[in-house]
Assembly symmetry: C2
Homo-oligomer: 334 residues x 2
DNA sequence: ATGAAAGCGCTAACAC
DNA sequence: GTGTTAGCGCTTTCAT
């Protein structure tokens, strides 16, 4: 258990200076075969491994980025994290995971951590409104942040979002096409971008279609909200034949109610949701959904952050297309 | 954009030495109110933030641990990761996320990374057998690793597992109690500990119960395997009335088949699964399951690793109890 | 092509 | 209580 060998030791063993070995290891130098071999031999003999902390300190960067998300246990964010890690790893950079549980002080804390150079950059994701602007302020005060999935108003950094408007429209058109005329929307928090946009796309696409939104219930992206809203909807019978859920979680809550009341989905009530991060094909019937591409959001997020870190200009906000996945929860009406 | 202030600057501004400020900041010193105030003022004025890399280099540790898992997008591992992060964070240590996708070279790579002091310790999780013993060798060559969830044979490090045997037994007893006599088990890979133990607990608990295992089909912890196995089972009609799925994923595959063949779960075929990481209460009917406590596994994992890092003896392998969650997928037979 | 030397910013003996 | 002095292990001018 003696101290691990350092570059110094390797250099000495190879009869060279630390500088040369360092350059060789970093590829900033092409060495004669013989010299290179000597170094390799020394490294192998000593079982040398570079110390990343020393490297970070010296270079002023750590080749590590942070991913801050509300909750890794949420399938949507878990998928997003998987994508982010995949692309980060491919680029040779490590991933620090930071769950905030949507607590503002934790979000600020992580942004702060970036400022301390803990990580070279941050992929930031939130799920609620920035009440007092503190988050936007913190973000704007830091370099190398990109916001993903949900907007932080007033933050002027690169952003990567799904095309929520398109998604809402896709849902609306599908419902109309299937013959539905009296629709409901159970959406997320009315004060955050994603929920607003999904609702907007949904209602705009309905214009002139003959269909109308009989009820629009906003709340949280939770099963609880889905449940309560569905109950309200059912209790105040408005002849709705189909409902558009703002997220998988909301859908889950809705499904509970529907099952409890023995209302057959895809028969007595049609349903379409947004996200498609869960295993919606396993429901009975399988649930039709607007699918977000977590892979593409993650890919673009990492790419954008890396460009940002290497000095590229702010790329503004980029939109990732969504996709309609038709399954069997929307009934074709006469 | 000038260089950020260092401890030196703060010290100078406060009229003290860097050492004193450092001690103060680390709490290894109680300063007179007046002096402390001066430091605080200087820090605030300069907007000073300590550089963690320098700190890590100097202290030889980084207060960061790594979590290596097969796939963060898998709900079970996502939950486990959430728990790990929660407890790590509570202990003031950061979490590096490392997904291996079950590729052996990546697993080795991460263990290697630990050796390089990238992180102070590693929480290691795998999902397949250690073919050639390379993984065990790498693990044994490193300090500060604890293995969670699935065993790595021959690795002699602290381990934290669910009580799979108990789980299998719980499933068996429940089935028997509900009047089932002809059972099947669709399990994970026969060559890994968790699958073996679940099967073992299941069959042992059946001894003398009058019930028997008409079929035991091992494969992978995947929906695909669940599907194929269920088809085989159904095609070779053996009068089985209930099946015990080795994991949620396996269950998912089974459910597809059951639905495709219009076999009503909880009526014509009873089902119980292991994990309960998905949203099993949303199925129709809700699925009865043996629930693993990802929270407790994560908690114990972090705690054990921290004790290990502070020099405690190897704590051997610890078992976390599982729990039977009765829902409605097991029919009560006459 | 290679080396010497000066940091990177912090911590930790060891003094006083 | 506080300061001095060495490092921690690597990178990087600047020489040669």
């Amino acid at each position: 258990m003696s101290k691990p060998p350092s570059l110094q030791h390797v250099a000495k063993a190879a009869g060279l200076s630390p500088a040369t070995v360092s350059r060789y290891l970093n590829g900033s130098l092409v060495l004669p075969k013989e010299t290179a071999a000597r170094i390799d031999a020394a490294i192998a003999a000593l079982n040398y491994r570079p110390n990343p902390h020393a490297r970070s300190l010296s270079r002023g960067k750590s080749d590590t980025i942070g991913l801050v998300i509300p909750d890794i246990a949420n399938p949507f964010f878990a998928r997003l994290a998987a994508a982010v890690e995949k692309y980060a790893d491919a680029a040779g950079i490590a991933l620090m995971l930071c769950s905030t549980l949507n607590r503002p002080e934790r979000e600020l804390d992580y942004v702060e951590r970036l400022r301390r150079n803990y990580v070279d950059g941050l992929l930031f994701t939130t799920n609620h409104q920035d009440e007092n602007g503190a988050l936007a302020a913190a973000i704007n005060a830091s370099a190398n942040i990109v916001v993903m999935d949900e907007d932080v108003d007033d933050a002027v950094v690169p952003k990567v979002f799904s095309d929520n408007i398109q998604g809402g429209a896709l849902a609306a058109r599908h419902l109309v096409e299937m013959g539905h005329r009296s629709l409901a929307h159970i959406g997320g928090p009315a004060d955050i971008m994603s929920a607003r946009e999904r609702a907007q796309g949904f209602s705009e696409a309905l214009a002139g279609s003959g269909a109308e939104i009989a009820a629009a219930l906003y709340g949280a992206y939770t099963a609880e909200h889905g449940q309560k809203a569905m109950e309200t909807l059912l209790d105040s019978d408005r002849g709705v034949t189909a409902v558009f859920a703002g997220s998988d979680e909301i859908l889950y809550g809705m499904m509970q109610v529907l099952r409890d009341r023995s209302i057959r989905v895809g028969e007595e009530m049609s349903v379409i949701t947004f996200d498609d991060a869960g295993r919606l094909e396993l429901f009975d019937p399988p649930i039709t959904a607007i699918r977000q591409s977590t892979d593409e959001i993650g890919r673009l997020g990492v790419e954008t952050l890396m460009r940002r870190m290497s000095g590229d200009a702010d790329l503004g906000t980029q939109r990732v297309p969504v996709e309609l996945i038709i399954r069997a929860s929307v009934k074709r009406l006469a």
